[in-house]
Amino acid sequence: MAARPWRGTLLYVGAVAVMTAAGVAKFGGAAGVDAAAAAPDDSAASQSSDDVATGGAATGGAATGGSADGSSGDGSTASDGDSTDGSSDSAGDSGAAGSTSDGSRAASSDDVTIVGSVAQTRYGNVQVSVTFAGTKITDVQALQIPDREQRDVQISQQAIPILTQEAIESGSARIDTVSGATYTSEGYIESLQSAIDQRG
């Protein structure tokens, strides 16, 4: 009946070795990404709906609140029912974004920037605007990211550049979620998909 002494501890040591190996294999090449991810973070952090509003204006006045397809500007009664705006927290943010949100469409001859729907997550709203050249995605800007807590902001800031790169590379919303930022990723994908859907 006697268990071999220390076998459990040895198994644990083995498990830690496997975990370390898996970690090195998975994250070992992450140093470069680390620097890359850190650089755009500041701009992403200061990214607000204002920036995008101007960006939108540059491509044809997206932020007017008027909408080509006739949905009301603030999105609370937007035709895409998954976005119910006016969540009590981050009211200012979503209000500001609301003026540009949901179904508003900016059109120009070459570049088109479309604002995706507001995706609500456990940690806050996520909304992106997508710039298309033809059918190709050339840029994705985050309008709203989860910002209730310092921690959320940080996670989002680290995840958004990765998600953006993935979106541009794949040209679609079929992208991987970022570990440790699952909620932000899912919100990002949802908003991105809605923008792509509007583009048609």
Binding site: M1, T9, L11, F27, V33, Q158, I162, S179, G180, T182
Partner: protein, 456 residues
Amino acid sequence: MTTTTRVAEPAAAVPVGAGRAPAPRRRVSAVLVALWVGSAAVVAFWWAGVTVTGVPGATIMSLGELAGLLASFLVCAQVLLVARVPWFEASVGFDRLVAWHRSLGTTVVLLVVTHVLLMIVGGSVLDQVTVWAEVPGILRTQPYLWLAVLGTALFLLVGLSSARLARARLSYEWWFAIHLTIYVGIFLAFFHQVAGGTHFVSSASARIAWITLYSATAGAVVVWRVLLPLLDHGRYRLTVTALVPEADGLTSVWLRGNGLSRMAARGGQYFLVRFMTRGHLGTAHPYSLSMVPTDEAMRFTVGALGDHSSAVPAIRPGTRVQVEGPFGRFTAERATTHRVLLVAGGAGIGPVRSLAQDLLARGHDLVVVHRAHDERSLALAGEFTVSPSLRYVPVPGRRARLGYDPLAPEHLVELVPDIAERDVFVCGPDPMIAAVVRAARTLGVPAAAIHREEVA
């Protein structure tokens, strides 16, 4: 009922044996392989769900998640190992399942601690706050984390109470009561996994797989550890009929019941026996059969070891008994050849007695070597009726008094000159088993032909 049965006369048809039959191979690996494959699958699942962010804090947390996933998988495996699943019992044997359960217990507790530490440290690096500020932060934001904290406390409590040092000081009842709380601990820790774990929140199929794993484990426990034992208890209606002192320190407990042949118990096996009386209710002890059960009667021969075994003679006839089993692979099917040597020491004579009964019924040729401290301790000696198929060799006397170890190779070969051509079944205290195994190997018995059972 108190009359002792004689070991059965040899069966008429004796397959007088040529060489050894190939040893029936143990399918040990099946359960172990399942464990390894499952663990590897968990790592693969983690691997597939991770995206590299390059953020140090997130990396640490991701490894913490892996530790948590492994702990969570292994704790299910651990519970399944002792859930009395008949397939596991048959392929591995109860004692080795328990040994693995114990070893994995250490692994699981350490992995849980690792998980907690990595999540806290990783989170604090990510938030750029102190570790102490991180803890209330995640408790506030993570779903069901408070329950998981309680669950973790129970894991630690159970782990510490099972450590070698604590087990030596803790009564079985207390240890068992504490051990039962692990079911609560597992339950409490489960919710934060599926509701808060990155890998599960993002994938419905992963969530379903995990919930299935846990439900199946719970189902196995309910069926094989609760429902079937209760059903058996009602069916067999076992009661104590007599207590017979056999020799110094050994007592036979006779039980009567109904339809016991359905248990399909074989000689050499043991049951977990619980006497339904004050002072014994909380404890189930492993007792070996000293007779192959009939349809109405079974007998255990119990040594005066530990608190409870010593109290067995005080149990009254009429006491209800609950048994779980049979367990053990110290059985006649294991014999690879016609001729067999049985070595019994102390209380080991019980299982050897019932095993001899089965072996003779299968037509084997037996030598029984019976070690004991002195002549008066040679319990059940009268039941080994010498016949052409059975030679009984009592070897009483302490080594100190004899001045030599009669089980050392040079003496054992005198007692059993043809030992190399025999299977060796040895049952007794651990040191004696070790001595016999060493001697048998020295004298040329293949490892596959040596079968052992510790009695404690």
